[in-house]
């Protein structure tokens, strides 16, 4: 049965590019949901059954790290895996994200193969 993924990025362009990469990666997704910042992502998670989240870090309103913190404090959604997908992939930032529960990180620019390698073990 196909999985549901949530893409969180303030750039409409990047949400389209990530969606395209997911389809090209060959992972069986039945539904791709979108949110433009961390708060919107929390709202989507509250209303939908989501199997995995791909989130940018540097976003207005609520950043990716703030989203991870808020998600970890919500028992209903804290176990949904999150992979960061960002230009911000310095060791310090990734360590912060992992300490807040992120399961991995994909650096922009990325390829569908890299998406597949990172998401595959989590699904």
């Amino acid at each position: 049965m196909g999985k549901t993924v949530l893409i969180v990025d303030d750039s409409n362009t990047m949400r389209k590019i990530v969606s395209r990469a997911l389809r090209q990666a060959g992972i069986d997704f039945s539904e791709i949901l979108e949110a433009s910042d961390g708060q919107e992502a929390l709202d989507v998670l509250a209303k939908n059954k989501v199997d995995i989240v791909l989130s940018d870090i540097n976003m207005p309103n609520m950043t990716g790290l703030e989203f991870l913190k808020a998600k970890a404090e919500n028992a209903a959604i804290k176990d949904i895996p999150v992979v960061m997908i960002s230009t911000e992939t310095g060791a310090d930032i990734i360590d912060q994200a992992k300490a807040l529960g992120a399961k991995g990180a994909v650096k922009k620019p990325f390829t569908p193969d890299l998406i597949n390698e990172t998401l595959g073990p989590l699904l």
């Binding site: 750039s11 362009t13 230009t87 911000e88 992939t89 310095g90 060791a91 922009k108 620019p109």
Partner: protein, 152 residues
């Protein structure tokens, strides 16, 4: 640090892997034109241990062709999609420059990307003494990626 080599490598990688277009770097130089004409620029600021900005400058017709390839949809003129796409290219380029300047990632902060476009405009960076502009060729046309840094 060889900023021009970093810019060339990052730009070629981003265009080949994300935009699906091959671009060819030319020799780096300082910007000579005082104004951009019928163009669009995507800009990301750098703050912290290093201050300045990273920008990508494209003539309008190159920007629409790049956006068409990037998004896989026909774009005929500069609109919201083009601004978002060019801003995201600037964001990825700035991320690559930041990684080179600050591998751990905590000493330099990136701004949200912004875009400027119009029939004629100029851009400057106050107190930026280091300027590296790398031109690129794409299907016989040219665009450029520029790094402006304050001297520390």
């Amino acid at each position: 640090m060889d900023h021009a080599a970093n810019i060339s490598e990052a730009t070629c990688e981003i265009f080949s892997s994300m935009v699906m277009l091959d671009v060819s770097p030319k020799e780096a130089r300082q910007r000579t034109n005082p104004a951009f004409v019928k163009s669009i620029s995507g800009i990301v600021g750098l703050a912290g241990r290093v201050k300045g900005n990273l920008s990508i400058h494209l003539p309008a017709d190159v920007a629409t062709a790049v956006t068409t390839a990037f998004l896989g949809m026909d774009v005929a003129e500069i609109n919201e999609d083009v601004c978002d796409a060019i801003g995201e290219l600037a964001n990825m380029l700035a991320g690559a420059v930041k990684t080179a300047l600050d591998p751990a990632g905590s000493d330099i902060k990136l701004s949200m990307p912004s875009t400027v476009y119009g029939d004629e405009y100029s851009l400057d960076c106050a107190h930026c003494g280091i300027s590296v502009l790398v031109p690129f060729e794409l299907d016989g046309q040219e665009f450029s990626v520029e790094l402006l840094l304050a001297e520390t």
